[in-house]
């Protein structure tokens, strides 16, 4: 689909395309109530409660006042509706602000001020410095005579550095006044969300006729929500407006994530519902039978001889209402409250604040903390996630001489400094390439110091290093570069930039030295793409060896090369280049072909090695999490050798002989298939021995084939192998891998820092973003954002584990207390002629669910079964959470049995101790309720592992509160309970009954718990015991869980394990690669590009 935009045509576009009104709202005032209610009622639980509430309105069948269901129901609905309304209102205010912003546009050739929402396609929009771009514009003119302007794209992709944008060459030199009258047509794609591409063409109409179609790229656009910086003014024609802009298309409300715990609770709720229906049917039949056999003889109830048609339904429906409390209405509210507190604990945690930046952890998604405790797979990005993403130039090899090998830092190597100052020709050329062959923008501050704005950390490292070696990139003025070497200025004109792509793995610039007029092509890139391009005769062996040596140290390598160009050759080439650049179809491939023509016969200058250090605590974190039974996959765009090095140094794979790395490679289907089969076979064998630690390595190309044609064996391998390293993968492949693991029913956590990780983060069950140097894009898309990778262990082991344990208790307890009171009602129905009488009154029933039983258990969110230190020392304990040991049908059955037992205890004791002359309905009911309250207080107390002051207050204060409330109700003369509670409390037998209920209810539970605790203890129990008794585990002297020294002994972070690699078939093919990255914007990669653009 194509779109034709007619510049400055006021009449045409209005009706075809939408205006620039932005709307992020979900509701309008009119549809809010119906739509919101509809959404809420699409949940099964809510439908159920509504049905119950409606049935209760029928006074013939309702056992209690309808208020007991309507009250909580309306409260719950009101809370969630008002939250929705408030959010939507805030969205509306933001939209309104954006829509009503005043913007200068051109109408009928005159500049006018209008509201942003009235901008139409084809309008020319004028912006001043620091203005926000109101819609997607195609640049037509700027204040800069070269046609450049600078934009900040932070809101779009999170990158804070400035980017240059230029006007299309067709508009170059058009006078400012003429821009008002410019006419033309732009042919561009239909609205899409690819913020990296804009493959369009433009033709201007007379008097600007050029008879030519001009190619347009994303470089010629100003996208919505960017800011114009360092440019006095700019103007452009609106091509996409409103919600059809690139930003608008990208926007989308992420699917709400459901945790495994929630899914389990839903499943259990369904089972309870079925059970309830069975109970209702049984009791309903029993009730009707009793009525016919016995009930009609009870003259005092005056059953009519002929009932209405629905008579048979009345008793079952009454029981349905009586049993409706089996599904606790409070569970959702309790869980939501608990979940938001879990999230708050994450936000508040001072141990997860990045000490360098002060960035604290943030739980953007409040609902999925429990899932953190159930993670089985962690898929991690490498650069910026495991490493610091702080590139530092460390070593180099220039024409066969190694610099920096002794000191470990080339910048302090006296030989290199000497060579630079004396002006050794090779070294100067090398430095020139470092300083020129890039897209870095130097920014001079007021104090005169120069800082560099670069998209790629590698380029910045190179430019900074060259500056320290006296080759200073001082200024970039359009195409002109000012270089200062040893205080002598030089000027270069950049004629063409042959951009980096992940296929080419190199970038080049064509420059003209301004003084001599000589033409050069300077190039840098991965060894495998540069070394084959040398002129015949050059010895590349030393360079290949240097690359090898550096890669083994885990350094990133770049080869630098150059060639002199002849004027004719360049002129011929440049026209081809222009043509390739203006193709609409398959532009990238065509451009690459043309570039290839110029990038040949290079002279290799040397190899630069750049270090990207591991973040602090990464190996320890990975070791602990692997001990916790979590499988790690590393998904990186980087090359295989570097990825393997990093994997070794951060404990991904144990070193030989325990660890084994298997490589899947191949370029064709057959090769991949064979390789995959071989690896699968080895893995199967080693896994069955279970002594070995097997990791497989796969690159993007092989991965694509494997996923497409050999999905089954690959899935099997994925399940068998605990570790995988996937290199050269694209963002969409990362997401596919997440999907693959999710399909195998594994809980996945994806962690990354850059735009290329966004899709994987959104795809995974839990997305964690690192608020790193690559902007906030990943952190924004993620459910959790943390400052450093090492916080992950705390996030999972502490917060995730506690959240899971607490929710497991909270939810099962909610069912327990509902069952308890419901069973008593069912038992009572057997002694009330199966007629569906409620033993309890409305006040008791409502307060029981909403107050008495909800408050104490809510404080279980403060419960800690094990101390944080113990968990860190024994990360294996996480296994109990991963396998869902604390919340599953069998634990639920335990709680069910307990509630049945307690209901029997309460009911039997109550009706026997309050028999005969004491059997007044109100009194018996209150005795039973008191029994339940006492029992539940002791149940909570028995299940609480750590009592803080809040728990004591909640558990015992709740008992006091129960009596206080009932005394108050008992002192109201008009209430049905008048004087009841006072009468009871005066009777010794009431208190004797309470003690008996507690003792009878709790003794068996305590005895069973003790037996299991002592003779069949769970792992948690064992650790609790040793933790609190100071057992051998703690006394062994390991205080810090991450005993650094012991780890360092085992796995020196920077050493190389040669035998390990040489065993694998392609270990010799270890190479350094291109390390340039032009845009770290999320790659919406087209099908033919299998490699990520972001390359680290």
């Amino acid at each position: 689909m194509k779109r034709y935009v007619y510049i400055n045509d006021d009449n045409l576009a209005k009706d075809i395309y939408c205006d620039n009104r932005i709307s992020n709202r979900k509701y309008t005032i009119l549809n809010f109530l119906p739509k919101n209610l509809w959404e809420q009622f699409s949940r099964f639980m809510n439908q159920y409660f509504l049905l119950i509430a409606c049935l209760q309105l029928w006074s013939l069948i309702t056992p209690v006042n309808p208020a007991s269901t309507w009250g909580p129901l309306i409260l719950i609905f009101a809370v969630s509706s008002s939250k929705e309304a408030w959010d939507d209102y805030n969205r509306y205010l933001l939209d309104k602000k954006a829509n009503e912003k005043e913007i200068w546009i051109v109408r009928q050739g005159i500049r006018k001020l209008i509201q942003a929402q009235d901008i139409c396609i084809g309008n020319i929009v004028w912006l001043r410095e620091n203005d926000e771009v109101p819609c997607d514009l195609l640049l037509l003119g700027t204040a800069d005579p070269q046609g450049f302007c600078y934009v900040e794209t932070a809101a779009l992709d999170g990158e804070t550095d400035l980017k240059t944008r230029s006007i299309p060459s067709a508009c170059m030199g058009i006078d400012v006044d003429l821009l008002h009258k410019i006419k033309g047509v732009i042919e561009c794609p239909s609205p899409n969300k690819d913020i990296r591409r804009f493959d369009a063409n433009m033709r201007l109409f007379p008097p600007f006729l050029d008879n030519d179609i001009f190619p347009l790229t994303i470089k010629n656009t100003l996208l919505q929500s960017c800011y114009l910086r360092n440019t006095e003014w700019a103007c452009g024609v609106a091509v996409y407006t409103g919600n059809q802009t690139k930003l608008g298309m990208c926007r989308g409300i992420a699917e709400p994530k459901l945790t495994a715990v929630d899914a389990m609770i839903d499943k259990l709720t369904g089972a309870v519902f079925v059970f309830q229906i069975v109970v209702v049917i049984v009791l309903g039949i029993a009730g009707n039978v009793f009525k016919d056999k016995q009930g009609r003889k009870l003259w005092y109830v005056q059953y009519p001889k002929e009932g209405p048609w629905y008579e048979l339904l009345v008793i079952p429906l009454r029981f349905e209402l009586l049993c409706s409390i089996m599904i606790p209405i409070s569970i959702k509210v309790s869980l939501d409250l608990a979940k938001s507190l879990y999230a708050k604990f994450i936000d508040w945690d001072v141990e997860m604040v990045d000490p360098e930046t002060g960035i604290r952890s943030n739980a953007a998604n409040q609902a999925i903390s429990e899932d953190l405790g159930q993670v089985e797979y962690i898929l991690t990005d490498k650069t910026g996630t495991l490493t610091e993403n702080k590139m530092i130039f460390k070593r180099c090899c220039i024409s066969g001489r190694f610099y920096g090998n002794e000191s470990g830092d080339a910048l302090t190597d006296a030989q290199l400094l000497n060579a630079a100052s004396t002006g050794s020709a090779d070294v100067i050329l090398f430095l020139k390439v470092m300083a020129i062959c890039n897209t870095v923008i130097p920014v001079r501050s007021k104090s005169g110091t120069i800082s560099y704005k670069a998209l790629s950390q590698d380029e910045e490292a190179l430019v900074c290093a060259s500056a320290r070696l006296r080759m200073v990139l001082e200024n970039k003025n359009g195409n002109i570069l000012d270089i200062n070497f040893n205080a002598s200025p030089m000027q270069y004109e950049v004629l063409d930039t042959l951009e980096f792509t992940s296929d080419r793995k190199r970038m080049s610039v064509v420059v003209r030295e301004c003084q001599s007029g000589e033409l050069f092509i300077l190039s840098k890139g991965a060894d495998e793409t540069i070394l084959p391009l040398t002129y015949s005769g050059q010895q590349v062996r030393t360079f290949a060896e240097a690359v090898e040596q550096y890669a083994q140290m885990g350094l990133r390598t770049l080869c630098l090369a150059w060639r002199k160009l002849e004027e004719d050759e360049y002129q011929e080439w440049t026209s081809m280049f222009k043509e390739a650049n203006s193709t609409l179809v398959d532009r990238e491939r065509r451009v690459a072909e043309v570039c290839q023509r110029l990038e040949r016969d290079f002279e290799i200058l040397g190899v630069a090695a750049i270090e990207d250090r591991l973040q602090e605590g990464v190996p320890e974190t990975i070791e602990i999490l692997r001990k916790a039974g979590i499988n790690f996959w590393m998904l990186t765009g980087d090359k295989m050798s570097t990825a393997i090095q990093i994997a070794l140094s951060c404990n991904f794979v144990s070193p030989e002989p325990k660890g084994q790395i298997l490589i899947i490679d191949g370029k064709t289907e057959d090769e991949v298939c064979r390789s995959l089969d071989r690896v699968l076979l080895t893995t199967r064998i080693t896994e069955s021995e279970s002594k070995q630690d097997v990791a497989f390595v796969v690159d993007g190309w092989a991965l694509e084939i494997a996923l497409k044609h050999y999905r089954k064996p690959f899935t099997e391998l994925a399940i068998l192998s605990r570790t995988a390293i996937c290199c050269r993968v694209t963002p969409s492949q990362k997401a596919q891998l997440v999907e693959l693991l999710k399909l195998c029913d594994y809980r996945t956590l994806a962690i990354g820092d850059g735009g290329n990780d966004v899709r994987m983060i959104q795809q995974a069950d839990i997305g964690v973003g690192i608020s790193g140097r690559e902007g906030l894009q990943a952190a924004r898309a993620a459910d959790y954002s943390i400052g450093k990778f090492r916080f992950l262990k705390r996030l999972i082991l502490v917060h995730g584990r506690y959240s899971y344990n607490r929710t497991a208790f909270l939810s099962q307890y909610s069912f327990y207390k509902s069952f308890l009171i419901c069973f008593i009602q069912i038992f009572f129905s057997f002694i009330s002629g199966v007629s569906g009488t409620s033993l309890f009154n409305t006040v008791s029933l409502m307060a029981y669910n909403v107050f008495y039983t909800s408050v104490p258990v809510l404080f279980s969110v403060l419960d800690k079964d094990l101390s944080e230190r113990t968990v860190m020392q024994h990360p294996q304990i996480l296994f109990d959470c991963q396998s869902g040991r604390l919340l599953n049908p069998s634990t639920f059955a335990g709680w069910f049995g307990r509630s049945l037992f307690h209901a029997i205890v309460v009911f039997v004791i109550t009706i026997h101790s309050y028999a005969f002359e004491k059997s007044v309905m109100e009194e018996v009911a209150m005795v039973a309720v008191s029994g339940c309250i006492w029992l539940q207080a002791f149940v909570v107390a028995l299940e609480t592992n750590s009592f803080t002051i809040f728990q004591h207050l909640a558990i015992w204060g709740n008992l006091v509160g129960f009596y206080a409330i009932n005394w108050i109700v008992s002192s109201i003369p008009t209430s049905g309970m008048y004087t009841i509670m006072f009468r009871l409390c005066e009777q010794p037998s009431y208190w004797i009954t309470m003690i008996l209920i507690v003792a009878t209810g709790m003794c068996p539970v305590l005895a069973l718990k003790y037996l299991r605790y002592t003779y069949r203890p769970s792992r948690i129990n064992l650790l609790q015991q040793s933790e609190r008794l100071g057992g051998p585990i703690l006394s062994s002297g390991i205080i810090e869980p991450k005993s650094r020294s012991s780890l360092d002994k085992d796995i020196p972070t920077d050493s190389v394990y040669e035998p390990l690699l040489s065993e694998s078939p392609s270990a010799t093919r270890r190479s350094a690669g291109p390390t340039q990255r032009l845009d770290s914007v999320q790659s919406q990669s087209p099908p033919h590009s299998t490699h990520t653009r972001k390359d680290n």
């Binding site: 779009l156 969300k193 929500s225 989308g252 003889k297 009870l298 005092y300 109830v301 005056q302 604990f345 945690d349 001072v350 604040v353 604290r360 952890s361 943030n362 001990k627 002594k691 630690d693 966004v758 608020s771 924004r780 009572f828 002694i831 009330s832 002629g833 009488t837 033993l839 800690k864 294996q876 009706i911 026997h912 101790s913 309050y914 005969f916 002359e917 059997s919 007044v920 309905m921 009911a925 750590s946 009592f947 803080t948 003369p973 008009t974 008048y978 004087t979 037998s989 003792a999 718990k1009 003790y1010 605790y1013 002592t1014 203890p1017 064992l1022 015991q1025 609190r1028 051998p1032 585990i1033 999320q1082």
Partner: protein, 348 residues
């Protein structure tokens, strides 16, 4: 992808350091009890040695209650047929015949000395006062407020006469008021039963109004139970008040009155029963109960027995635990039991 402004707000906010407090860091001081053998055994032994005495004292209190129970429903209407159906229909015919004299005389022997106050109860078995149709059929407002006599909600089918006049007190409970009467005599001297103050104080003062009078009561063709006196306010007709405190169980006793003299051992008490109330339709039983009370109320062996049983079981459990502990001691928190310490190969 979401580019919401909220995210940027939160990111700027997130750079401020969170305030430290023991609550936010989940580091509140906490006591973490664990189930050590000593703790558990002590608990069980303590429960055992406190429960058995409580149970014994409860039992002895229950023993001290002197209780005379006489089931009179069958005896008062003798039926000599072996066929239960015939008996059934005969008894119903008898009880529903208003013209017959239903007087029935019973003699009771006092087994032990009974100290006053002695309570006289009637006990009904298989009478579902807690039946849903029944228990709901009342209207407190009408009973309390003289101006609300027309309010008969929930009272169906005993709400109003066919002409629409409201029945006061309305509802099935009032309508089925128990109407057997007992006259006691000892050695041919009448033994007075005090029927004042048998209802709850709160019922007399608050639940039933002092100026609410019965109206149209038992005026329909279908007569249920007892009648009320039209010119005495409801709150002084205490039999009604007692009856309307519905029982939660199908077998229940309600206070009939008090005897305010002591009864000696082996004294013979003659009871003249007006056997009016129909329990024969539903095979219910009627009993006359004369009983003293102690601090636990009337006779109730259940609590005492269960206390002794629970106490005994707790002691037994403690004994078993101690034995097992001595035979097979098991140190708490031994890390060698941890599965990953047992078999390090299986867990990486």
């Amino acid at each position: 992808m979401s580019f919401s402004d909220g995210a940027s707000k939160s990111s700027s906010k997130s750079s401020t350091k969170p305030t430290y407090s023991r609550f936010t860091q989940q580091e509140l001081p906490a006591c973490k009890p664990i189930l050590t053998p000593a703790l558990v055994m002590t608990t069980f032994i303590m429960i055992g040695i406190t429960f058995i005495p409580i149970g014994l004292s409860h039992l002895s209190a229950s023993e001290n209650v002197v209780e005379l129970v006489d089931q009179y429903d069958e005896v008062c209407i003798p039926a000599d047929s072996p066929d239960p159906d015939v008996v059934y229909s005969k008894r119903i015919g008898y009880i529903q015949d208003e013209s017959t004299d239903k007087t029935c005389i019973r003699t009771l022997i006092v087994p032990k000395k009974m100290k006053q106050p002695i309570f006289v109860y009637y006990q009904l078995d298989q009478f579902y006062q807690n039946h849903r149709r029944y228990v709901k059929s009342q209207n407190d407002e009408q009973y309390r407020d003289p101006s609300a006599s027309a309010k008969t909600t929930n009272c169906e089918p005993e709400a109003q006469l066919s002409e629409g006049q409201p029945i006061v007190p309305c509802g099935l409970i009032a309508w089925s008021l128990f109407n057997d009467t007992y006259t006691l005599s000892r050695n041919d001297v009448a033994l007075p039963i005090n029927k004042k103050g048998i209802a709850w104080e709160s019922d007399r003062t608050h639940k039933f109004g002092s100026n609410v009078y019965a109206k149209n009561f038992q005026n329909r063709s279908l007569i249920g139970g007892g009648k009320l006196i039209d010119n005495i306010p409801l709150n002084q007709q205490e039999d009604l008040l007692v009856w309307m405190r519905t029982a939660a169980l199908p077998n229940f006793r309600k206070l009939y009155g008090r005897i305010e003299t002591d009864l000696e051992v082996n004294e013979i008490i003659k009871v003249v029963i007006q056997n009016n109330y129909n329990t024969y339709s539903f095979n219910g039983k009627k009993k006359l109960v004369i009983s003293t009370t102690t601090w636990i109320g009337g006779k109730n062996d259940f609590l005492g027995m269960v206390y002794i049983i629970v106490g005994g079981v707790c002691l037994l459990i403690a004994l078993v635990f101690i034995t097992v502990y001595l035979i097979k001691p098991r140190p708490l928190g031994d890390p060698s039991y941890l599965s990953w310490n047992k078999n390090p190969a299986s867990v990486q």
